[in-house]
Symmetry: C2
Subunit: 398 residues, 2 copies
């Protein structure tokens, strides 16, 4: 079995153990890798004191704090005996799905912006690849939408699909369902899936039941995506966590209707926190279902959008050139450093070529927190620029 | 006759000669004063070359430019023979009105922000004083308002009156009329007029005819205000110019409904240009009458407002403490320099106490353009800090 396949099985198993955004679990994976993390959780191996220290650093814990791993192991323990990643992956394959992980080619790099809240893996159902971030627009809103909200969601999604955007939403009743349906209806022949439903439950489940037909259609013509394995139920916590994935995957997040307190605002705030543009659709000041949108507009968290052209403009210049081939744009070859953030470039500069170094030392050399160093090393490793060694890390040769 | 009364008569006359925002006329008044300006326009005296030069400087004209005064005199000439300021003032008095000028005590200082576009005078009908800017909120919008816009205008005005705000609008059909009516209905005993109609015609005229009843009520319980004398008709130009006065008088300007192109947007842009906060009421994306509001929201010219509390918040801290007596706030005496802008303070510093100086010299000493010097001298004169002399200007003694 290849290393990537082994990593995938380990991540599949861990995604049943760790709830979404379990930062201790994610830090453990960042420090020791998924295979070793799974062995530790299973009690097959101990954590060396150096790794324990790295873990504390990754979590920004003070010296006197309780051992995060101890609490984590207590949390994960009860689920260890139920692990059957091979069976889960077989279920996924039967459904025409595949596991997408940071080690696979089709991993959406946009999710790396979530840092320690990055998902372990994505359980994906559907044939198409997940489009690049610039080609995804999130349309979210109330489950109890009004006729007004439903019609606007339809217009936006119907206008975005022909512009080359995949519409991502949560598969729920109301605005979500309208957006998915309109995107499906307006899709044309292209390699971009018309719509993506980000689920809070396993991709084998159809929740809510009234949307089963819709979700089946999305599975065959679009994509069903979840960070929790098949069979998982949609808990309130998972719904809220799912929102961060909608925000992180998309170039723009649009709230069509939302009450003063609403899950859609949670998605909007995730998007804003990630520096992604947020749009809000205005409506009657007398509609409680627009109060949340007006709140976003008033506090400056969102820009006023009234049609698909507004949304496309907000998504940015990349998004306004659908189907353009930018891989050879300008005729220049992609350089090694391209696409790296400044901290990651600092980190790359600090990595020795002929010896190994530790997170501690890199932290000093690059002037970054241990947490950033660990996240950055994972990204550099994925980019083939850093190598994990017995003694720590070094730069990839050649 | 007192100097102030003479000034008033001259301004009354000039307000029939000059169309609103006739900057050449206003610059002439700024350079030589209203009485002398009227004599010049009447051909009773010539303009000395020094004043001509000041005029060019005030208008920021290059040396080679055509003489602005020549063109002005050609423009004003045809109206000179019809001047009858005493008759106009008598008409105003008969209607229970009075002339408010920069020389009278109740001049709204907020209008000075208009600089050369400041009105010559205000023809005011109604008993109450014009409230200070912090106590005025403008509510404007389409004449062809929808039921939605009408109800929101009513709610806003009805909510602002008990908070101590006078509602200013344009006396037109639609949003304007709704705002005036609601303000009248919600007014309580206070020394603040419930509503102020800023007219594009003389205050003796009821335009549009369908609003006669409303305008008569405003004349008796609120204020009718215009910069053009009795009998003047409402031209398209005067409507647009009137909008700048609505914006300048108010602490906040709210657009309730507006089409993509609308006079209400003109008012909003005047307000934004003066640094006044602008609010826009959201509405259906399918309503053409909300398209202008959404345009303001989208381009960042306006803040989203949904109720009177939002508007009051936008009006700022002064506005949120209605009826508060701030004249002795903090127990400190008001100092001479208080309330002066930095350029005006520079100007005051440059004014000699024992000799006279010219605009030219002050321009050099204070480091300000001639235009700013002339505007600033007018403000300092009003504040009793500067005195006009035969040789130019000096600081007021004592």
């Amino acid at each position: 079995m290849s290393r990537a396949a082994e990593d995938g099985i380990a991540r599949a198993a861990l995604s049943r153990l760790f709830e979404p955004s379990d930062t201790v679990g994610m830090a453990l994976v960042a420090v020791v890798g998924p295979i070793q993390a799974l062995r530790i959780v299973r009690g097959e191996t101990a954590v060396c004191s150096a790794d324990r220290r790295l873990l504390r650093e990754a979590l920004d814990l003070p010296d006197g704090a309780r051992d995060p791993l101890e609490e984590g192991l207590a949390r994960w323990g009860p689920r260890v005996n139920d692990l059957a990643p091979a069976r889960d992956l077989a279920t996924l394959e039967r459904l025409g799905g595949r596991l997408v992980t940071p080690e696979t080619e089709d991993w959406p790099e946009a999710l790396d912006d979530l840092q320690l809240a990055r998902p372990l893996c994505l359980w994906v159902r559907g044939r198409a690849a997940i489009p690049e971030q610039a080609r995804i627009a999130a349309i979210v809103g109330s489950r109890d939408s009004t006729a007004y909200g439903a019609s606007v969601a339809t217009e936006l999604a119907a206008g975005l699909a022909p512009r080359g955007y995949s519409v991502v939403s949560g598969g729920a009743y109301g605005i979500d369902a309208q957006a998915h349906r309109a995107a499906l209806a307006s899709s044309q022949e292209s390699d971009i899936p018309p719509t993506i439903a980000l689920l809070a439950c396993g991709v084998d489940r159809y929740y809510p039941a009234g949307n089963e037909e819709l979700l089946r259609t999305i599975a065959s013509r679009g994509l069903l995506v979840s960070e929790v394995p098949p069979g998982s139920s949609p808990t309130r916590y998972r719904f809220l966590q799912r929102n961060r994935l909608i925000a992180a995957l998309s170039a723009v997040t649009v709230v069509v209707e939302a009450r003063w307190r609403s899950g859609a605002l949670n998605t909007a705030h995730h998007a804003a926190g990630l520096g992604r543009p947020v749009g809000a659709v205005p409506g009657s000041v007398h509609s409680v279902n627009s109060a949340g949108c007006h709140r976003l507009l008033r506090d400056g968290s969102a820009v006023c959008v009234t049609d698909a052209a507004d949304v496309a403009e907000l998504a940015g210049p990349l998004g306004s050139e659908p189907f353009g081939d930018r891989s050879t744009e300008g005729g220049e070859e992609r350089r090694v450093q391209d696409g790296l953030s400044i901290p990651d470039l600092l980190l790359l500069d600090g990595l020795p070529l002929h010896a190994s170094t530790t997170v501690d030392k890199l932290s000093v050399v690059a002037g970054l927190s241990a947490r950033h160093v660990i996240g950055g090393l994972a990204r550099l490793e994925l980019a083939g620029l850093a190598v994990r060694t017995a003694g720590g890390w070094r730069r990839q040769k050649g």
